[in-house]
């Protein structure tokens, strides 16, 4: 009675037809059922991302920047300090 | 059968003559038996309560002379309860069994073993889970406060004695629409509603579920008292013969007494013991005076609960209702009874949603402070979501929000300024977590300042009343040599050692509340 091909069955499940997505439910912020059960490595976001720009590092950026406005800020800071001193 | 399944489950599945419960002597049954003899003192031969099956006579060590033949549906029910596929993760076997025993024993006690639709009765693990769901979903409306369906049930299913254990929604819809007030339980009231631990939130939210022996005993005593007062039909025969007829709408009270002790409803409310609105209004005045005069919280809390109950059974929902809850909430706050406070708060949230007046912003502000204290961020998020733009302009609400954001960003300076300037009764709530936040601040200060800070600075920054008070607080957590006097000024030597000790104390203080805050 036993079926030892479960791996195959699992894989086969990927063809599970979902084009007939339920017309009954539209929930706004719910994680959706994937239209396929399984997919290959190169269909993953990871693979797509690395194909596009080499690696995933560029997805995140430093939260600070050394812009050219450092001098502006320095000036601004001095003015503000003067104001503070003047008010004392 | 694999291990882990109790033998009685295995045997339960064989034939109809097999006992559901072979003769075991689980201590869990003892209090139940004892209780029964109290609840129906007139006769203890009506229904054998000990689940001793008829067929177990040969080897029985039964304490009861009479045995009961468990009906097949009951046995099937037990069997289903233990079936592996019906087990629910998160509901332990023990919890399930306790509930199962309760359900069956109560059914036996009330002579309803063959009246209950066991097929439709949810399994005990589901009941347990529902209780948990209710709690987790934070809809811990008090039992007596459950809403009344508009329609009148055509008949009261015989199983109601047992099923009314549940207060949760699915019972309502599980094919039989029992009105919730039919579900108040004759025997469920394990918890003594007056003597509770103010720190155990769950106990009060889920007061039907507690089953400690001492509580049960208290309840027994109370019940006996109740019966004496004729709160409900205590004759076993009348109870067994005809279920109390369902009233068709809200009760209209006739009682003229201003004071009334609180008892949980165990059957449809009797108009003779319910006070109509004009009387209740006088009651409130009386209670306010008594509170001022005697400051007897136990008495006041009890009286307020019966007041609330009378309002609920009469469907009175107006500004007066709001003020009853508000006043009770304030008194509970003052006495640091967070459990009772939280009950009122929950009710108030719903009442405010119906625009019945009162002081919504005052209590919305408390709510935010309350969730800071319990560190319940999910609930905090809900509390934030409840605020309208107009609310946010309100001084008290703004204050509470500022407190929250100051803490979120570690701005202890701002936090303690806000603490010293708390509107209404918010300080009662803030007092509960202010020490915890002082430890957080000290951990930061000790790490950031070098080589020392004056005690005066601590006193001022952390909202202490005096240098003595702050020194004492500091010494509770670190060793003496870290406070030193130099140039006539006491200083806290900051740095590694002190920072480490305060860090430990801080973690500890937050951990403790974590446990308490966890439902």
């Amino acid at each position: 009675m036993s079926n030892t091909q479960s791996q195959e069955k699992q894989a086969e499940a990927s063809q599970q037809p979902q084009q007939q997505k339920a017309t009954v439910l539209e929930e706004d912020d719910e994680f959706e059922d994937f239209p396929v059960d399984d997919w290959s490595e190169n269909e993953t976001e990871q693979a797509a991302g690395s194909a596009a720009n080499g690696n995933n590092v560029h997805l995140w950026e430093e939260s600070w920047d050394d812009d050219d406005a450092a001098e502006d800020f320095s000036k601004q800071l001095k003015e503000e300090l003067k104001k503070v001193e003047a008010s004392h | 059968m694999s291990s882990g399944i109790p033998p009685w489950r295995a045997s339960a599945s064989t034939t109809t003559t097999t006992p559901v419960y072979p003769n075991y002597t689980t201590p869990a049954y003892i209090p139940v038996q004892a209780r029964r003899s109290l609840t129906s003192p007139a006769s203890n031969s009506t229904t054998p309560v000990s689940p001793q099956p008829t067929t177990a006579t040969t080897d029985s060590n039964s304490r009861k002379p009479k045995r009961v033949e468990w009906p097949a549906p009951v046995r099937m029910y037990v069997q289903r309860s233990f079936a592996p596929e019906h087990q629910i993760p998160g509901v332990s076997r023990e919890e399930m069994e306790t509930k199962l025993k309760l359900v069956i024993t109560e059914a036996a006690q009330s002579d309803r073993l063959d009246k209950i639709d066991w097929e439709k009765l949810p399994l005990p693990q589901i009941m347990v889970q529902n209780d948990k769901t209710r709690i987790l979903a934070n809809s811990e409306a008090s039992t007596w406060g459950t809403p009344f369906p508009t329609q009148t049930p055509k008949h009261i299913p015989a199983g109601d004695e047992v099923t009314k254990k549940r207060k949760s929604a699915e019972y309502q819809t599980d094919s039989n629409g029992y009105p919730p007030w039919r579900q108040t339980n004759k025997t469920n009231a394990f918890e003594d509603r007056i003597t509770y631990s103010p720190t155990d939130k769950r106990q009060r939210i889920d007061f039907k579920n507690s089953s400690s022996k001492s509580q049960a005993n208290l309840e027994m005593r109370k019940k006996r008292f109740e019966e004496g007062r004729g709160m409900y039909g205590s004759s076993p025969s009348s109870r067994g013969a005809s279920p109390t007829p369902a009233p068709t709408g809200p009760v209209v009270g006739r009682c003229q007494d201003l004071e009334k002790n609180y008892f949980r409803l165990t059957s449809a409310p009797n108009p003779d013991t319910v006070r109509p609105l004009p009387v209740l209004m006088k009651t409130l005045d009386l209670l306010k005076k008594k509170w001022k005069k005697d400051n007897n919280y136990t008495y006041i809390c009890d009286q307020f609960k019966s007041l609330r109950q009378d309002l609920t059974v009469q469907h009175i929902k107006n500004e007066f209702t709001v003020s009853v809850y508000e006043i009770h909430a304030r008194i509970a706050l003052e006495k640091g009874d967070l459990g009772e406070y939280n009950q009122c708060q929950t009710q108030l949230r719903a009442l405010y949603a119906q625009q019945l007046g009162g002081h919504p912003t005052e209590f919305k502000a408390y709510r935010v402070l309350y969730f800071i204290h319990t560190r319940n961020w999910t609930a905090m998020n809900d509390a934030l979501a409840d605020l309208t733009p107009a609310d946010k302009q309100n001084h008290a609400v703004k204050h509470a929000l500022d407190v929250r954001s100051a803490l979120a960003l570690g701005n202890y300076h701002r936090f303690f300024q806000l603490y010293l300037d708390t509107p209404n009764m918010g300080a009662y709530l803030m007092d509960m977590f202010v020490d915890r936040e002082r430890l957080s601040a000290l951990a930061a200060i000790c790490k950031a300042y070098k080589p020392d800070v004056k005690i005066r600075f601590i006193t001022e920054e952390l909202g202490f009343e005096s240098d003595e008070q702050s020194a004492r607080f500091i010494l509770d957590h670190i060793s003496e040599e870290m406070l030193q006097e130099r140039d006539g000024v006491v200083r806290l030597l900051t740095g590694g050692k002190a920072a480490q000790l305060f860090e430990l104390s801080k973690t500890e203080a937050h951990r403790v509340v974590d446990i308490k805050g966890q439902i």
């Binding site: 030892t4 037809p17 950026e61 600070w64 | 993760p89 979903a137 406060g145 719903a350 300076h413």
Partner: protein, 452 residues
């Protein structure tokens, strides 16, 4: 012949779970717009069992063991009834009821569960469990919506627990799904034949259900049950990606809601990496939580490229991120206020708020940079000025918050903010209060990880 029965027959003949599950999928398809109707007209309520038996055994000649066959006939009969209720929505909309659809579907689910425990259904058929569970949840949701639209008056006028019964059917569905979960988790058969393969799918259905009824806490029970069995379960990688990505997403969100951001990040990052590249909606949801996690745990911001996956998020996060980067506290506060409703709704307000510390760090970092360098000593590389008067940070804060001339900024509060950044490791150094000085650490570590 009805394509439903055809699917069933094919599924049985070829031992194909997905095909069998297709038979139990209660919808019409574009290819077969009368799919349900033709199945329903296959028989009538008096004869459905007999008709099915005859059809499967005689017409198709399927050889199914007796007990299993009986179970299937029961399931298909119940399914047939449920389909009848669904069809009411086309035939007699006024008589149709999602509550009845749900109740009938629940019967299908119960029979199916029973068949697994008693009638020897094999594990290749578990896609049936998936589809039945999935629609159980869907129908419950429909039924609850129907009930609340009809009965809302009753709830409104009633006491405190105004949402009483609002999710009754969904809660009922949760219990059935829980049994399915247990059915999968506790299967002791050898792993190739085990229903354990269905465990994540069922977990996900339960997650969705618990989230819907705002009982997220119950999800943790599932995680506990899973981790207790973790040794018996196959590796995550061996499961279909749809199961795992969904699972990881929910686990991440559960940690997220607990403010356990590093655990949350780990799971969400996994979900992100293995998500199907075209699943836009799901990618957006993953990022909704992953971005705040990243902000809290690694103090990094999403790149334009990352947010290009999710235009709604771009709108939600962009100005916030810009203000953080620039150290613009005023802008940050304004962006938080502007987004507050949306942030609260998505439950990301609290972690995003912590971004203010980063903005503050950046502002103070500018003070450090503006301070320039000490006089270089005998050819040594120049060293930045590391002793900075608190007054300069006060001035910076005035700039950052757009304080006008009348606004007073409390020096003690500025010290407090500095102490916090030091405490949190965003700044290295100490406050010498009596000298009114901040002494920052030398050697490019004053603002760790930012190059100065």
């Amino acid at each position: 012949m009805s394509s439903i029965l055809q699917d069933f027959e094919d599924g049985q003949r070829h031992g194909s779970g997905p095909r069998l599950a297709l038979a139990l999928t209660p919808v019409d398809t574009p290819q077969d717009p009368d799919r349900l109707k033709s199945f329903y007209s296959f028989s009538n309520s008096a004869q459905i069992s007999a008709s099915l038996r005859y059809y499967l055994c005689q017409t198709c000649g399927l050889k199914i063991p007796k007990q299993e066959l009986n179970a299937w006939i029961d399931i298909l009969s119940a399914y047939w009834k449920a389909v009848g209720e669904i069809l009411q929505f086309n035939e007699f909309p006024s008589r149709a009821s999602w509550v009845r659809v749900f109740d009938n579907w629940k019967e299908v689910a119960n029979l199916l569960i029973r068949a697994y425990s008693n009638s020897g259904f094999e594990n290749w058929t578990i896609p049936c469990l998936y589809v039945v569970g999935k629609y159980l949840r869907i129908f419950a949701s429909k039924a609850d919506a129907e009930t609340s639209s009809q009965g809302s008056v009753a709830y409104l006028q009633d006491d405190a627990s105004t949402d009483f019964g609002k999710d009754a059917k969904t809660e009922e569905a949760a219990r059935v799904l829980n049994r399915m979960f247990t059915l999968c988790l506790n299967d002791r058969a050898p792993i190739d034949e085990s229903r354990k393969w269905g465990v994540y799918y069922m977990t996900n259905l339960l997650f969705k259900t618990y989230f819907k009824i705002n009982a997220v806490g119950l999800s943790k029970n599932l995680l506990r049950a899973l981790s207790a069995q973790s040794k018996e379960l196959p590796d995550l990688e061996d499961f279909p990606k749809s199961h795992i990505v969904t699972f990881k997403y929910f686990v991440g969100v559960i940690y997220f809601l607990d403010e356990s951001y590093s655990e949350a990040e780990e799971h969400l990052a996994y979900a992100w990496r293995f998500c199907h590249k075209n699943a836009m909606k799901n990618k957006e949801l993953i990022l909704t939580y992953l971005v705040p996690c990243h902000l809290v745990t690694t103090h990094t911001l999403p790149s334009k490229k990352l947010l290009s996956h999710a235009p709604r998020l771009e709108a939600l996060f962009r100005s916030l991120c810009d203000c953080i980067r620039k150290g613009d506290l005023h802008g940050f506060d304004a962006a938080m206020t502007a987004g507050e409703e949306e942030f609260v709704k998505r439950r990301i307000y609290l972690p995003l708020e912590r971004g203010r510390d980063i903005a503050l760090r950046n502002l103070f970092r500018k003070v450090f940079i503006a301070g320039g360098f000490e006089e270089a000593k005998d050819g040594q590389p120049p060293i930045r000025r590391t002793r900075i008067p608190v007054a300069e940070f006060v001035a910076a804060l005035r700039i950052g918050t757009h304080a006008d001339a009348r606004t007073r900024i409390d020096i003690d509060e500025v010290e407090c903010l500095l102490s916090n950044l030091i405490y949190k490791g965003l700044m290295k150094g100490y406050i010498a209060r009596e000298r009114g000085m901040i002494v920052l650490s030398k050697g490019g570590t004053a603002f760790p990880g930012t190059g100065v």
